[in-house]
Symmetry: C2
Subunit: 162 residues, 2 copies
Amino acid sequence: MTPETLPDFDPALDLVLQRDLAAPREVLYECWTTPEHLIHWFVPKPHRVTACHLDVRVGGACNTTFDVEGTVMENKGVYLEVVPNERLVFTDAYSEGWKPAAEPFMTAILTFEDLGAGRTRYTAVARHRNAETARQHAEMGFHDGWGTVASQLEAYAQGLGR
Amino acid sequence: MTPETLPDFDPALDLVLQRDLAAPREVLYECWTTPEHLIHWFVPKPHRVTACHLDVRVGGACNTTFDVEGTVMENKGVYLEVVPNERLVFTDAYSEGWKPAAEPFMTAILTFEDLGAGRTRYTAVARHRNAETARQHAEMGFHDGWGTVASQLEAYAQGLGR
């Protein structure tokens, strides 16, 4: 699977990052779904995750708080789909209790494909509700940001020594 | 449970219809989740459902087409939560494949509570992303419309003779 052959890929609405990471998918999935792990790699350094509440089930909270150069950013969301070790879908279009957000930003679809030998094809699709939001996300630095975070995730996962 | 005590009820954003129906919740749930049943009661008569595709799983399609006095209305959505016989959550905020809608209208949370003796407390909450959309839905006749549909559902379910 390449970004161009992703199911339903829409270049006007979707941004994609795909990377082969030198860590098993079970470990990457654990890093994505465990607050104690997530805080160490989830935002490009030196920015920091200062709070994280994850209730990893459909409709459960996926909330994080960042400190970006002294500015606190609260992100509330929910999981839409949870397939352990394989796939996670989450969005800010809802907060817990299926409360719709007034202006949703994106829906993220993550897939973890086992490449064997402890390697994983990691694909993150950020799907947007209109072209303007997708463009805005691209200009905010989606590719650099999510790329940096993928490298941080890989290094952190390797450091767990599994 | 009354509308006022619904979890997270927000009078500015949520519209609620609650009715005690003289039919078992298993039958009502089946009517909601089976196209051959749904087409008979889902819109106030004489309007008609002319097509219906339901894939009753999280992320599966919940698509219906209405004929309202010759005007065809296509409604695409997905299920967000599926608890057989108890609870259904669906929305037009996504179409199948987690494609976000540009301008979502509502998220519906249905609960079916067993009252014993073949009766069910049926609660439909329509949750909106802003007060303007909720007001618009109320003015479109949410309470009358969903009330009529609840009566049609009850009569249809009773006619199944279960």
